[in-house]
């Protein structure tokens, strides 16, 4: 099939010659059009980065509004934003607003931030670079999926403008077929976003299979890419099920076809099965890329070969596969058969095994490493701590007897925030600091980075650990007020909610601070002139290109002679900071 001239040309791609003044991917063309129509995976990654950050802060503001309302037991803060003739009406209107706030907060955070967060930004940027490729396999499809994302996001904003949404991010029937809020617009938005996710997954799988540098065997692929590869498999195999579920829900609402709505002869538990068949694997779409980031940062910043490379890689794939078989743990109290619950509970415990293997491997990597406490490392350590709590509390929920008590309480809320914020968001922060200088050719301020990592950690734990406590005392989730309980409970709930609200303000400030010093560094940060200016480098291929990378990534086709974690030695010369 391949002719002699067709094979890989060692010693330089086409762009090795003919460039007098080297341009990087950022300054190669500054026009708006060159960004909007770019096929460069790096620029597409940055456009995603800007979009997901926008929605993250938007969703974050909604969260702070929720937390402010919950600071006191009764209805107060939100009543200032609604109108009503008397106190009772005011309270009802405020309760409706509350329902919309937590729904939009959840839906925006999950569909617009967490799902695309790491894969679409750092994945897009670094997957080809780490493979030693010039681009992803289908650059046009890549740009197309970005625009699908934008279109889906518009539907969400439209939902907001046209009466909001109050079903919770789960869109459970029959409420979602009877509420008078904009269910169709928002589910259609999520449907569209799903295709963006699927197409990105297709692109990544093909790229990993077909575009690896010469001699990059499957055991020389950086672990971040194993994580992205496993994530892509889930995106491809689970997301279409969400697509059809949401489509059926739209038909149900518009035409009443009677699949999910009991009034029409349908089965509402069927909806839950469909929804969680996607949405449990989707939690791994959110966390697996984070695992990948942690494997990279832990290894680079302790200058040590990753411990248990094969186990970490295999555990990513096995989490992705077993993750398809546990969705019923969200439905223990839905009336599914006890046998089903039993099996789902057992398989859920099984998922915890590969997850634990990862955590142990990271800790073992740290052992006797040359650890540098810079911002990416602090975030990575914070991740290990927080994710472990999140994962272990998942086991309480996976246990049938305890879940009957804990289901739909703040314990669940705390659990998933520990894995999604303490896990994915903190890993996102680790990634952004780890690769910032490589991506933009400028340094952020290391001390600002450290301070932010510490305050995120403190604010986060205040916000969510208190929720474990009140959840285990029975505080239900999605409640607008909590003043109708016994005096003892009232005092516990109030104290915990107040700690949580104060913590959320600290977290919000720390994240805003992060945004500011990062944005500041884009314009005023210390410039990276050549690789020796970088505060750290790794052995994987994204460190082997110029800073910032050239439009074509590599002048010479890099060749994978050894593992991406073969650091020359444990390097003690690498101090963090300035």
């Amino acid at each position: 099939m391949t002719t002699a001239t067709d094979v890989i040309r060692p010693g330089g791609g086409p762009s090795a010659t003919g460039h007098a003044e080297e341009k990087d991917y950022l300054n190669v063309d500054n026009s708006i059009m060159s960004w909007l129509f770019t096929l460069d995976h790096k620029r597409i990654g940055l456009m995603y980065l800007a979009s997901v950050l926008f929605f993250f802060f938007f969703g974050g503001i909604l969260a702070l509004l929720i937390r402010t309302e919950l600071f006191t037991p009764g209805a107060d803060f939100l009543t200032y934003f609604v109108s009503g003739k008397n106190a009772a009406e005011l309270k009802l209107a405020a309760a409706d607003l509350y329902n919309q706030l937590f729904t939009l907060h959840g839906a925006i955070m999950i569909f617009l931030f967490l799902i695309p967060s790491i894969p679409a930004t750092f994945g897009n940027f670094f997957l080809p670079l780490m493979l030693g490729a010039k681009d992803v396999a289908f650059p046009r499809l890549n740009l197309f999926s970005f625009y699908i994302y934008v279109l889906g996001a518009f539907f969400f904003l439209y939902t907001l403008a046209s009466g909001g949404l109050d079903t919770g991010w789960t869109f459970y029937t029959p409420y979602s077929t009877s509420t008078n809020t904009a269910v169709i617009a928002s589910t259609f938005g999520a449907f569209i976003l799903g295709f963006s996710s699927i197409l990105t997954g297709v692109n990544f799988v093909v790229t990993v299979h077909k575009m690896r540098a010469p001699r990059m065997t499957w055991t020389r692929i950086p672990l971040f890419l194993w994580a992205l590869y496993s994530t892509s498999l889930i995106q491809i195999l689970a997301t279409p099920v969400l697509a059809i579920t949401l489509l059926l829900l739209i038909f149900e609402r518009a035409l009443g076809i009677g699949i999910f709505d009991p009034a029409m002869g349908g089965d509402p538990v069927l909806y839950q099965h469909f929804f969680w068949f996607y949405s449990h694997p989707a939690v791994y779409i959110m966390i697996l890329p984070a695992f990948g980031v942690i494997s990279e940062t832990i290894s680079v910043h302790s200058r040590k070969h990753i411990f248990g490379y094969g186990f970490i890689a295999a555990s990513s794939v096995s989490i992705a596969l077993i993750g398809f078989l546990v969705w019923g743990h969200h439905m223990f109290v839905s009336g599914q058969s006890p046998l089903a619950s039993l099996l789902f509970s057992m398989i859920t415990f099984a998922v915890a095994v590969p997850t634990a293997i990862k955590v142990f491997s990271w800790v073992a990597t740290l052992y006797k490493g040359s650890i540098v406490f810079n911002a990416p490392m602090l975030n990575a350590l914070s991740f290990i701590f927080l994710f472990t709590i999140g994962g272990l509390t998942g086991l309480f929920l996976a246990t049938l007897a305890t879940d009957v008590h804990l289901h739909d309480t703040y314990f669940v809320v705390a659990h998933f925030h520990y894995v999604m914020v303490g896990g994915t968001l903190v890993a996102f922060l680790a990634a952004i600091h780890h690769w910032w200088a490589k991506m933009f050719g400028r340094h952020y301020n290391e001390w600002c980075g450290r301070i932010s990592a510490i305050f995120v950690f403190i604010g986060f734990n205040l916000t969510f650990f208190s929720q474990f406590v009140m959840g285990s005392q029975g505080m239900p989730r999605r409640y607008f007020t909590y003043d109708q309980v016994s005096p003892e409970l009232l005092s516990i709930y109030t104290r915990m909610h107040q700690i949580s609200t104060v913590g959320s303000m600290i977290l919000g400030l720390a994240l805003t601070f992060t945004l500011f010093y990062l944005a500041h560094s884009l314009f005023f940060g210390k410039k990276v002139h050549n690789d020796s200016d970088l505060r750290w480098t790794g052995e994987s291929m994204e460190w082997k290109t110029a800073t910032p990378p050239s439009p074509h990534n590599f002048h010479e086709q890099p060749i994978a002679y050894n593992s991406p974690y073969d650091f020359k030695e444990i390097d003690h010369s690498l101090g963090g900071g300035h």
């Binding site: 099939m1 391949t2 002719t3 001239t5 067709d6 094979v7 890989i8 040309r9 086409p14 762009s15 003919g18 190669v28 063309d29 060159s34 129509f37 770019t38 096929l39 460069d40 490729a133 010039k134 681009d135 396999a137 289908f138 650059p139 699927i198 997954g201 297709v202 692109n203 799988v205 093909v206 790229t207 299979h209 077909k210 575009m211 491809i236 195999l237 689970a238 997301t239 279409p240 099920v241 697509a243 059809i244 579920t245 489509l247 059926l248 038909f251 149900e252 035409l255 009443g256 076809i257 009677g258 699949i259 029409m264 002869g265 349908g266 089965d267 069927l270 469909f274 439009p551 074509h552």
Partner: protein, 219 residues
Amino acid sequence: MSQVADHAHAEHPPHLHHHFHSSAQQAASAKLGMWVFIAQEILFFSGLFMAYIALRYLYPKTFLAAHEHLDVSMGALNTVFLITSSLTMALAVRAAQTSNKKWAEINLLLTIGFALAFCVVKYFEYSHKFHLGIFPGKYYAYTHIPGNPEVFFGLYFVMTGMHALHVIVGIGLLLWIYLKTRTGAFSAAYYSPVENVGLYWHLVDLIWIFLFPLLYLVK
């Protein structure tokens, strides 16, 4: 990629994209991409099949009674159309691979013809149902079937409708391939678009092969 000044690539055939090393790599990538996309499509339809299983299990008698009102001969005719179109599609791919342009064009036209014939039959089936008052969901107005036949027909319309949508997309893709074939874009050296549209078309055919017995031949 477009921002970079074009270099002269004597060894680059026109269809080869800049970021691939070789035509073989590009073709293999496109093909794998299509297979992965097909996996996605199968999971999409599997949702419908699962809904079918659940509801048929809930309402076995209704499904039996309601399916009598579907026209088996029309469904069978459509099955023949699609299977034949899969054959002509395969012949078209083969013709493209062997640089037999004329034969590829003929077969692509035949495939498009069968696909259109499928749509015409479907149109008559749907309009007959609407005529009787068999509409999807709450608009259902045909009272001669016992049980809750609107559930069966709701599924029928969604399943066949989603499939028909795929047929229509397929017709668009086939037309595009046909027009490109006429300009002589494909040859033994480069035919992966033909091949991949072919894969997609076989999938559309395959899904119908499952839909037909499940909906028309319940007994």
